[in-house]
Amino acid sequence: MGTKFLSPDRIGAFVAIILGGLSIFEAIRLYPYGNNLLTGDHTFPGIIGVLLILAGGMLLFERKKNEVVLPKGRKAFMMVASIGSLLIYSLLIKYIGYFFSTVLTFLFLIKIIGSYRWIFSIVIATILTTALYLLFIVLLKTPFPSLLL
């Protein structure tokens, strides 16, 4: 019973209601800055908040079966590891610069997703890092942190 009540759609409906509440809260905070009730920066947040609560409520009572199987085992690991490596990359780049952080992330991703041999992975990671360096830094002049390169 408990799992049925907390179906993914219901969780989504609750999130919508919470976001709606948050939006109304923000509208109330902004209200003093507006000209009147319907013209100001609070108007849209207020309307959207009310509509989100209504639509969330509507979804709570919708009866639709939606069986979802989430990936497990190696697939789940690959997905989590890929996303994790991107998050670490966005931190790492500040400290060790574009080149080494990008090579390392590429290497990790190619090993995780493609399961290639080390030598092949290192060569491909270096080639791709250089290609993206030429594209983003040389051609597009994006100022990446570059402590080492």
């Binding site: 989504g12 923000e26 013209t39 100001g40 920066d41 939606n66 992330t105």
Partner: protein, 504 residues
């Protein structure tokens, strides 16, 4: 007549070596990304948009348009050779395209698809030249209430069309609005929804969100599906023979006209027109039993309808500033990044740019036809790039692309978060099309709404009292009924053909 003169001037602008190179590069890049399994026009534009920012606005938009129709073309390659539709609008192409490929006629099917796409694209562009300036001229009479009504109608119809639950579509649309509101308020200048985080003061960067939803999510989906190298059927002759062309001519013409004229109506997507075209061809065929087993008409009609609808989508985009589909929503975002205001004033203030871009589309269409037929073998080879290499490339290009728009690491984290969210949205069938469209249109709708109520001193009836606004509302009522009928029909057809629910 005036339009023709402007167009000719546009041609003279495009026909310079550098501009031709831009169009060529855009079409080729679009085709390359479109050919990669699972990636469609939306992902192609999202991934490649940051790379166009070094160009001036006209060249940037020319390149984006090239990427758009190049990727549309590329999508048919995977649909025919590998039975993988990049977007739901390519599903009908797989029905006969893949059986044809298995019969060794994949080259002919790709050739017919290319010729059909070219003719349909050209018909769509002629329509654009004829109708867009008229519509833009009329739209100059629109005030904020009319704009708000128009955008609201477009969104309501699109909410109905996603193929999923209406409540979920509405929630996703509202979520898109909510995200678009983050940042500095438009009338008071007071920060909204920043909850004390300085990074949120500048709002969310649309492109990062789109890259996350369309590119990073796509890799996660690929990892889940364990996409490895998928074998494609061999291509023999790329040029369709006389018999193939004879069989395809009328389906191409019917598909183009049906796709264009239905496609300019809000609420009729390329998926709807391509399925309609497929069903029409099957119905009027003397050999309906051949459909699904390798009928070339089953490729010619839907591919043409798909392309004609996509070209037709440029009419509301350029004339009214209203996108009819997610890739066009990203193009709208791109126009805004370049500091342009899409809508009727675009034709007045940036007339030269608009006509140069339209002329570039004609040239791009020709380039695609000339280059793609001989290059079909190469595109097919590209589909063999293993996911173990492709996945990391897409992820890293996405991250660097998200960073390069505002040189902000915050945008990178946003892209990653929306990549994860996009995966769960896909998994639990929460449609992302309403989210993207509301995200892009949010700021425009808010300003139109507030301006309207300022004009009327807070009277809500302004949206019903003005003649144009009222007419738009009445038309919308009819369109919504048509849209509900067509959506139900297409939903049923997708379920029949693929056995699953797809967003369209």
């Amino acid at each position: 007549m005036e339009s023709i003169l402007y167009l000719l001037h546009g041609f003279s602008e495009v026909l310079t070596p550098f501009n031709l190179l831009i169009v060529l590069l855009g079409s080729l890049l679009g085709t390359v990304v479109g050919v990669l399994p699972g990636l469609g026009p939306t992902s192609a534009i999202a991934i490649l948009l940051p790379m166009t920012t070094i160009l001036d606005p006209t060249q940037g938009i020319m390149m984006m348009a090239g990427i758009y129709y190049g990727s549309m073309y590329g999508g048919s390659t995977t649909a025919i050779l590998m039975n993988i539709p990049g977007e739901s609008s390519s599903v009908p192409t797989t029905l006969d395209g893949y059986p044809l490929a298995k019969m060794g006629k994949g080259g002919a099917a790709l050739g017919v698809a290319a010729i059909g796409s070219f003719l349909a694209g050209s018909i769509g562009l002629i329509g654009l030249v004829l109708f867009a300036p008229i519509l833009a001229d009329q739209a100059l009479k629109f005030g904020p209430p009319e704009y708000f009504t128009l955008m609201l109608i477009a969104l309501l119809i699109l909410f109905n069309m996603t193929g999923f639950s209406l409540a979920k579509s509405i929630i996703m649309g509202l979520f898109g609005f909510l995200i678009s509101l983050v940042g500095i308020g438009i009338s008071s200048g007071v920060p909204r929804f920043h909850f004390g985080f300085d990074a949120l003061l500048g709002g969310f960067e649309m492109i990062s969100i789109i890259i996350g939803l369309f590119a990073i999510t796509e890799v996660l989906k690929g990892l889940e599906e364990n996409r490895v190298r998928i074998k494609h059927e061999k291509i023999k002759n790329v040029y369709p023979n006389k018999d193939d062309m004879k069989k395809s001519m009328f389906p191409i013409l019917r598909g183009s006209l049906l796709g264009f004229f239905l496609g300019i109506l809000p609420g009729v997507s390329a998926t709807i027109t391509s399925f309609l075209s497929y069903d029409v061809e099957k119905k009027i065929s003397k050999h309906p039993e051949k459909f699904g087993k390798g009928a070339i008409e089953g490729v010619a009609g839907p591919e043409s309808a798909n392309n004609a609808t996509s070209s037709g989508g440029f009419i509301p985009l350029l004339a009214l500033g209203i996108p009819a589909s997610p890739p066009l929503a990203i193009l709208l975002a791109a126009l805004m990044i370049y500091g342009l205001t899409p809508g009727p004033v675009l034709f007045e203030q940036n007339s030269q740019m608009v006509w140069t871009v339209i002329a570039s589309m004609f040239i791009g269409n020709i380039i695609l036809l000339i280059l793609n037929l001989p290059l079909i073998g190469l595109w097919a080879k590209l589909t063999e790039v293993p996911f173990g290499i492709l996945g990391p490339i897409i992820l890293m290009v996405s991250i660097l692309g998200a960073y390069s728009v505002r040189n902000s690491m915050f945008d990178v984290v946003v892209a990653i978060i929306f990549g994860i969210l996009g995966y769960f949205f896909h998994k639990y069938q929460w449609p992302i099309i309403p989210f993207v469209l509301c995200l892009v249109l949010g700021p425009k709708m808010e300003s139109s709404f507030i301006q309207s109520l300022e004009i009327s001193s807070g009277n809500w009836l302004i949206f019903f009292e003005r003649p144009i606004s009222l007419t738009l509302l009445l038309l919308a009522a009819v369109l919504i009924i048509v849209s509900i009928f067509l959506t139900k029909r297409t939903k049923k057809r997708i379920k029949q053909e693929t056995g699953e629910h797809m967003e369209f």
